[in-house]
Point group: C2
Chain length 329, copies 2
């Protein structure tokens, strides 16, 4: 009974490092986009203001006012309550331990309805509907960035469990192993998450190991080891960077293979900052590292890099605003 | 358009150690049952003959002829092709590396149609429909016995992936860890499967560690460390048995928690020879061992022992013969 609104829609990918906003048309073509750094101080209100500002800039590039958008979707970290429009426990964002009414704040600032979803699931859905996952009915999205997130599509539909399915970063790869950012021991993310890799790089550098990682970081005007810094160091053959990436791939091999042994999906899509930056040759290395642990190693899943790249999260978020009128939020 | 056949149905659980057969009525009540040891020599024909013999005995106890059964369902290990009625790569069964037409062999011997399914998924479906899983829409069945098998129900339906989903025994819990019966390193089953536990017990006993495990085994006229042997040794406080069970529970804690971090189901049902024998207090210990690894540790899944006990696999197999007329096999 609902009519499809053909007006442009907005999508915002809220990351720990950056806020990416897009405006798309009914065919999901990107009409405008903008990016802003995620505030590192202040609180949820400041983050919401930066999101609204990025969205306004993307809309301006698309030649529309934000209140003319059919809606704005948001892919958010933390615990997202889509029905209530709230986000809590977003630990990578400043002062966001408690609950914040992100939906209401954005609606107020943008003059159009906001729809919230989980960042990783939204990016997975985007790949399933528009990207590398289109040929498949079942897939696992692996988002390899600051942490390691996972999104699941089974039989053509997202599987979110009771709300926290797909937490593949916290699949255990080594009982009693390295401490993860989450506080637990031996999680895949403790070896493969960029935040963990940076922590270990700093420790080993401080202990006297040579590396160009921090020199490259400074040359690029960064204060953290972003994906581009790792990529450059690897191309230069930096020994510490290579060793830490090898550890990460070993952990991804075990953790993604374990997940595949449980789910037996048709395809794995590798996204996230590191996944997209390092590309297909590293996706292939992850598959090679999976093989010794895959139960059905005669039929490994197809392995692709996320086709929507950096914009996938934001484009997927915009899908929320499209689908929303036809399903309960 | 199909009519439900109200005649009794047969169900056979084909295990590496024993063959359990049941005859059930339309309400799934057990009318007769029989058990035979699984042949350890010969080939698939001999196993099929033992299965037919067990089924005939169960039917005799139920007061029916096997050709009067509406059908016979089979829960089988190995690679099961339900449509073709074949089983291959059943490595725990004698001479069963290749493909064997088990369905046709049983139909010939029993005079009624045979329906094949995966042993672990069949037992999980039985718990979901008739057992401890009835209150839940999503659950994970953990079958802790010779190996560790897993069955998945999501949104009320079995999830089997491309055919090998739920292989939780081969979730990696320690990269580079102990060698598993499957040949891989660090699988959960390498620590928690009864076959692996027995191998380690024999090694440590041979190396001089004291244990009553093998004395109890001999007293019971066994040649392997069956679940009852472990249970008795644990009750006596046997130090080696306790240490190996502690290792098993640590591995189950990590591996089942990893699986829950992926699936986020409502409940975990612990079945299998050891799971059923050791009961709820050990299921609770597994949950305690999961907590340090559970991402959503504020909402752990409900944890139950399989309610259908030892007969669950066979009763679940009989469900195949009920459902079969209404779905493609």
């Amino acid at each position: 009974m609902s009519t499809v609104n053909a007006a442009p829609r907005g999508g915002i990918d809220l990351g720990g490092t950056k806020i990416q906003a897009v405006v798309v048309d009914a065919a999901q073509a990107v009409l405008g986009q903008a990016r802003q750094p995620t505030p590192t101080t202040g609180g949820p209100e400041d983050v919401a203001a930066a999101m609204a500002s990025a969205m306004a800039e993307a809309a301006s590039h698309a030649g529309v006012e934000t209140d003319a958008l059919a809606g704005v979707g948001v892919g958010s970290p933390g615990d997202v309550d889509s029905a209530r429009g709230t986000v809590s426990s977003a630990r990578n964002l400043p002062g966001w331990e408690g609950e914040f009414g992100l939906g209401a704040a954005l609606q107020e600032a943008l003059g159009t309805r906001a729809y919230l979803g989980n960042d990783v699931q939204v990016a997975t859905d985007a790949e399933a509907v528009l990207g590398a996952g289109r040929p498949y009915r079942s897939l696992l999205g692996v988002f390899w960035g600051t942490g390691v997130g996972g999104g699941i599509v089974l039989d053509g539909r997202p599987w979110t469990g009771r709300g926290t399915a797909g937490e593949i970063g916290h699949v255990v790869v080594r009982i009693g192993g390295e401490r993860c950012g989450c506080g637990r021991l031996g999680c895949m993310e403790a070896y493969a998450g960029r935040a963990s890799m940076e922590r270990r790089a700093r420790e080993r550098h401080a202990a006297g190991e040579h590396t160009d990682l921090f020199k490259i970081m400074e040359e690029r005007g960064r204060t953290r080891l972003m994906s581009g810094v790792w990529s450059r160091a690897l191309k230069r053959g930096d020994r510490l960077a290579t060793a830490l990436i090898d550890d990460a791939i070993e952990a991804l091999g075990a953790g993604v293979a374990s997940t595949q042994n449980v789910l037996d999906v048709e395809a794995v899509i590798i996204g996230g900052g590191l996944g997209v930056r390092l590309g297909q040759s590293y996706a292939d290395r992850i598959l090679q590292a999976m093989l010794p642990h895959l139960f059905d190693d005669a039929h490994p899943p197809a392995m692709h890099v996320a086709a929507l790249g950096d914009l996938g999260g934001a484009i997927g978020a915009a899908l929320l605003a499209q689908a929303a009128p036809e399903r309960p939020v």
